[in-house]
Subunit: 227 residues, 2 copies
């Protein structure tokens, strides 16, 4: 029987995620977990987004991958502190990975911690990392049927980013079907359309994140005052 073991793994992860979340709240750090399939454009999105956010927030990025430090190098080249987490075959980040990585970051001087999860539309959605909210990314080249096929990715998220909008004229992607399917899976989710390549929608995405992070920061502050 494997199911009890899986349950224990998830329970253990949830406990570590709660510890991370407590620590973030104590330090006034807002943490975002960025999820999506391989090649949906998460790193390119961050490359376009971080320069728009870095005047407003002290940033740090954790890059999750199975192997290689390619993505952390791309982020670090923007002058943003970045740590590469390699799972060595593991298909998702865990809260324990994040706990370890925090030792390499000056987390007390961070306002916004962005975690790019392993490129995989399935398993990462099962593992909380201690994040305050998730952003799910889907590229138009992946197809409009994905909300039905990967419901968990779209269910646990506060924002869905439809990326690679510049490819829209070259693919068969029914935006109406996509929007209906996303809202069927997650009725209250926000949806933004972006292209990191052309810059379309990137200011709106930066504004959405800034607004949401500031609301969270105020709540953290109020909560700290009460306790």
């Amino acid at each position: 029987m494997n199911i009890p073991v899986v349950t224990r793994v998830l329970e253990k992860n949830d406990a570590a995620a709660a510890e991370n979340r407590d620590r973030f709240d104590r330090l006034g750090v807002v943490c975002v977990n960025l999820l999506g399939g391989a090649g949906c454009g998460k790193t390119a999105l961050l490359e376009s987004l971080l320069p728009r956010l870095k005047e407003r927030f002290r940033l740090a990025v954790l890059e999750g991958d199975i192997t290689t430090t390619l993505d952390a190098e791309r982020i670090a080249s923007l002058g943003i502190p970045a740590v590469q987490l390699t799972t060595q075959g593991g298909c998702h980040l865990t809260a324990a990975h994040v706990q370890k990585a925090l030792a390499s970051i000056d987390i007390e001087n961070v306002d916004l911690l962005l975690i790019e999860n392993v490129g995989n539309p399935i398993c990462p959605a099962n593992f909380a990392l201690g994040e305050h909210f998730r952003i799910a990314v889907l590229s138009v080249s992946e197809g409009d049927d994905k909300p039905s096929k990967y419901p968990l990715l779209f269910r646990g998220t506060r924002l869905v980013v439809l990326s690679k909008l510049d490819l829209m004229p070259h693919v068969d992607f029914d935006v109406g079907r996509f929007q209906r399917d996303v809202h069927r899976v997650n009725p209250n989710v926000d949806l933004l359309e972006t292209s990191a390549r052309s810059g379309e929608g990137m200011d709106q995405l930066a504004s959405w994140i800034s607004r949401t992070v500031e609301q969270m920061s105020i709540r953290q502050c109020e909560s700290a005052c009460r306790s």
Copy 2:
């Protein structure tokens, strides 16, 4: 400790995969495991490929997904026997899934069984299904850095299909880098470039599969005669 449990899961799967493989060999069925990330175009590739193969082979298709029967419906509409396997959250097919699905197929009258795995570039590569060979699919829109980032997907395969070639003018994809990286991970792999949308490379892919399946069939025949 979770590792012993994972090991047992893999061992159990390997045993079931060996049973499937024996059964395929006894019946003269060649089985192909098609792997790749979500939205890399595996189903579209099959839709373009199956009409090219169906004069030559008696075909059947197993469609792996977490949920929905969308893909099996697309294949069945071509007049090819198709079974949808839904993993209900599981991120990969297992040999046991395939064993169960074979009950729904007239497998004695099949020459070529194509299995489309769950859209995920990571976990499916760890689980043998009893296939004779694998085909890994990557779309140009996913990026040229994927062989380094997902080495297992590219290592265990006999053929890599670079799909969505029609998008090449609209993405930053360095074919030279991709080819070098694929061959660094898997020096003997074949590489074909295709577009299911334009039809480019599809005849070459159909020929490659036909040739490889026929070689396997001859070997199965010879082995049956010896035993």
